[in-house]
Amino acid sequence: IMIPFSMKNCFQFLCNHKVPAAGFKTTPKGGLILQSVSNDVYQNLAVEDWIHDYISLEGKPVLFFWRNSPSVVIGRHQNPWQECNLNLMREEGIKLARRKSGGGTVYHDLGNINMTFFTTKNKYDRMENLQLIVRALNAVQPQLDVQATKRFDLLLDGQFKISGTASKIGRTNTYHHCTLLCSTDRTALSSLLKSPYQGIESRATASIPSTVKNLLEKDPTLTCEVLMSAIAAEYAAHHHIKNHVHLINPADETVFPGVNSKVQELRSWEWIYGRTPKFSVNTTFNVLHEQTHLEIKVFLDIKDGRIEICNIKAPDHWLPLELCDQLNSSLIGSKFCPIETAMLTNILLRTYPGDYKLHSKWNILCEKMRGIM
């Protein structure tokens, strides 16, 4: 049952259901089931973070459902260049977000359900949450073979991954969130989560790729709506609360004061790219010059998303050494970002009103550089 509900009412709701001193099994406990009306990955991540920071969860756990328009979400300590095809994402308009929990990279679209289980630190139990999901799935489709693994994944038929997990532990609150593949575009998933970038060396958390499958492919009755209501019902039964799913708008500043500044932070380049752990790029380009192939060696050290060390070595007869040095020194301190590099190199070129050949070589080099970003 969906009821649009303001958060203030939620507070009331939470207050009225305190755990009495002597708790009986049948006494209603506190708890809440929420669902986001937004499909914006940044807004949803922001409100998730808001709930983690500001809501008291003692005796009142919260379950939050959210779905996103096509986006790729990387873990807190991951390297987006290693994890996904950023060029393809830019072309297709797929958003990139970095969440605050750990774990690996996932692709979200409207055929994927995200669930966040908020509890206090002492009630943090990922396996319990996953077992709840399995029970809910089996309640809808008893024949379904779904199992939780030791790595907190959910496997269908013992081999296909249908859910991945990540979590965040704070001072008093924790959350465990996981995906559930219902009817996601698998072709998009596999093409976007494959990184074309060579020569990256980093100590960032690497994702472990798995074969996936959609639940809808197994059983056409298992739509997102059916699954969400099944899991909500199971959660309500387990925590002895009313099976009401409250709709929330993550952009509503009156209900979630401060959420929009969280959205801005999550959208910022500094958070998404700048939080990448230090890494280096060591690669070579091949250019065609007078029927021969020339090698251009590139070595970059990137910290906080910005180029710290830049060493581009092109053969002297192809591009003057001076120009190469210019490029090297200008790139230091700039963002490891194709548009910034394009603007930078374009502007530099203006100070060399030279011949057409030089310009075209410069352009080729710049295009190659942008290609690795």
Partner: protein, 482 residues
Amino acid sequence: MAAARVLRTWSHCAGRLICVRYFQTCRNVHVLKPKCVCFLGFPSFKYSHPYRLLKTTAALQGQVVQFKLSDIGEGIREVTIKEWYVKEGDTVSQFDSICEVQSDKASVTITSRYDGVIKKLYYNLDDIAYVGKPLVDIETEALKDSEEDVVETPAMSHDEHTHQEIKGQKTLATPAVRRLAMENNIKLSEVVGSGKDGRILKEDILNFLEKQTGAILPPSPKVEIISPPPKPKDRPIPMPISKPPVFTGKDRTEPITGFQKAMVKTMSAALKIPHFGYCDEIDLTELVKLREELKPIALARGIKLSFMPFFLKAASLGLLQFPILNASVDENCQKITYKASHNIGIAMDTELGLIVPNVKNVQICSIFEIAIELNRLQKLGSSRQLSTTDLTGGTFTLSNIGSIGGTYAKPVILPPEVAIGALGSIKALPRFNQKGDIYKAQIMNVSWSADHRVIDGATMSRFSNLWKSYLENPALMLIDLK
């Protein structure tokens, strides 16, 4: 035991001592975090390691405490340090974030248990840290022996709190905790202290609030205690106190890198060119009418039609008559190249800065084709995808600064070009028509800059007049259309 006894008496004194010290810090104009700390009420003392008790009583100076990595749950024994939020020498308060660790898909924020200064970090990034082993060393502040006099502190104007202090009542709490209570209108007497000797801790206040409102503190960007600005003392006769406004902002110096550095270079090169300016006023009344007619047709074809395609086409037609404006000079101004293609650049403002993509070969494009190309460039520009080809090869530039605002400008030529035009905003102004009647005209100002080494005033003026005539009477474009 002797140790315990000493501890107890000290805590009585400490309560008052802390208040005095707090007053001293508040005297400063700058808002400071209270440096004094009550480490007697730490939850850690509940573990009651006997050796630690002795340690604290023995040393009356700043105490270096080993902060150990506490149990994270789920039987996790080791984690990887992923990010440090502090470095050696930083000051931290209780509940400040110290570092971020990762264990098996869980990202954990470790917060400080103490107030103090970080003395040592035991691990580097990507090291494995062990639960129960020291994570950082924190030096907690010394409590000095000072006068027992309790003076009314300026920042605490609430009677409840001062009353307690003066009476020497045993509601023990650090100044930080008192402030937290005051900010939330909580009477300390109503809060049950869970610390040593009934000391009220930050957690007690937070729990108390929770019970009241069902939520942790009203959400604020930082759930930390921020000292309120010092308030003037209450006086019997209110007199306007003229306090000089205190500005606590600081200058910030950072190196110019990347894109900005490149701009510095280009602009320095550009200003070596002797510029001259020429401005004029264009009556766009007819063009505005024309565009209104054509807008829905373009939209039906899927394109947004602005004024820019008209400006570009008119400029190209003008350049056919005055090709020297579409030329390029080398660095020493010894050779001039008359460019065949009219690649007209459009200056765009993006969040990164100035970007100038150009429309290639305007001389062979129809106005509609120019509009398509502009749409494409604008879309790529906003999604940060402009290619190098789009950004290079420009021969002439128009800057539509009027879309942001302004009337007149003095644009800077972008080498290796020799001319540039800045378009002001279109304003409705009264003008006289040929009959001498006043009518509402749509007026836009254009400011040209050209390289005086190769372009003279007359050339610029004639070009501008031609461009102006095309725009004021769009039908004229039909005759010269190629």
